[in-house]
Amino acid sequence: MQYILNAVLAACLLVAANIPLHAQKPPETVDFSSFPAQSIDDVVVPVPSEVFIVLDKLGNPNWRLELRDSLGRQSGNRAQVALLLGTVIAEGFVAVEAEDSEMVKDIGRRVLSLSKAINVEKAVLERSKSITDKAEVKDWLAVRKEFDGALSDVKDAMLELGDDDLAQLVSVGGWIRGTEVLTSIIRKNYTTDSAELLHQPALVNFFTKKLDNLSNKRLAEDDLVDRIRKLLAAIAPLIGDGEGDAIPSENVTRIHKMTRDTVAAIAFKGA
């Protein structure tokens, strides 16, 4: 009887402690070379705030200085609109860091108009309204989540329309603007710790692979897309070979200039 009571007590303690009865200690090391290629999924592209909050912990950046005066102009070129939409959503994350509610509201409206230009307006209508409402009450955590959601909704809507290529351009546009802001802040107060945030080889490889395999011939041959391919190829050797490798300040400055010029090219192409 005592044996049964002990067993029941032990089981209750395990449940209370959330410890699985089938718990298995994970291996301390794994060999990824033994993983079949189809068993490794692509990287999820981080939103700019994932890296911005690290910058906040490392110092006290002046986010208002990082906001652009103009969000750019859209042309009739779908590649440009998709890339511009990515940069504008990234700007939303900067405006959240700057706690600039008027800018956030402007950006929310701009996200909507750019989405309309590429037929995904419906997907972000609610988000856009929510961004405005939450910026009004300065609920910054919620606004940040809405921008993440807007990015995700736009990409999902494009995938539903069979526009996977455009969805990739939105992501890469956001990443380039995010990197421009990141490098702008790092170079103002360079430390090896802050520069290490640029070590993103999986993302550079991911975008390179996606842009090299665009199925839409017109997008694949677009001069902005070609410019971004060259940008990624130029950035790859500057972000460190291995985890923890120091990224010198000259590299940060070079990446900043390249991304800044590319964002300007996206923002004013055909205008």
Partner: protein, 140 residues
Amino acid sequence: MKKTLTFLFALLIVASAWAYVDDALSFAYEAASPYVKKGFSVREDAWGGDLGVKDQQAVQAQLFKGNEYWFCLGTDVKGAVLSVNIYDSKGNLINVETTRAGRLSAVRVEPSRTGTYYAIVTVHKSPAERTGWALVYAYK
């Protein structure tokens, strides 16, 4: 007629595949909800799929030194035992804390370097032949 039936059947398979990923995703978000109260932001993007028993799937993640992350895994199959573990690019385990309750599992990591990491999802046991899973992450 046969073509229409084949199409409808294919549609049904696709719809049910999405349904179980959606269910698994709801559980993954449920697993993440306690961390939202602790100031974590949960990403809208997610990974998901289905695996057989003893199968594994690795997903790549770009993590930043200085952040704290919770990776939250959900499954739509009652009675299934799944786990998620995080490894650095050299294949070293970096889990700091793990929890599991029913269909939800979560692991916390604090990367010591900025770079590429791998979340490995494993189905240890399941009453189903294929087990739907979804993985989201939260950061702070």
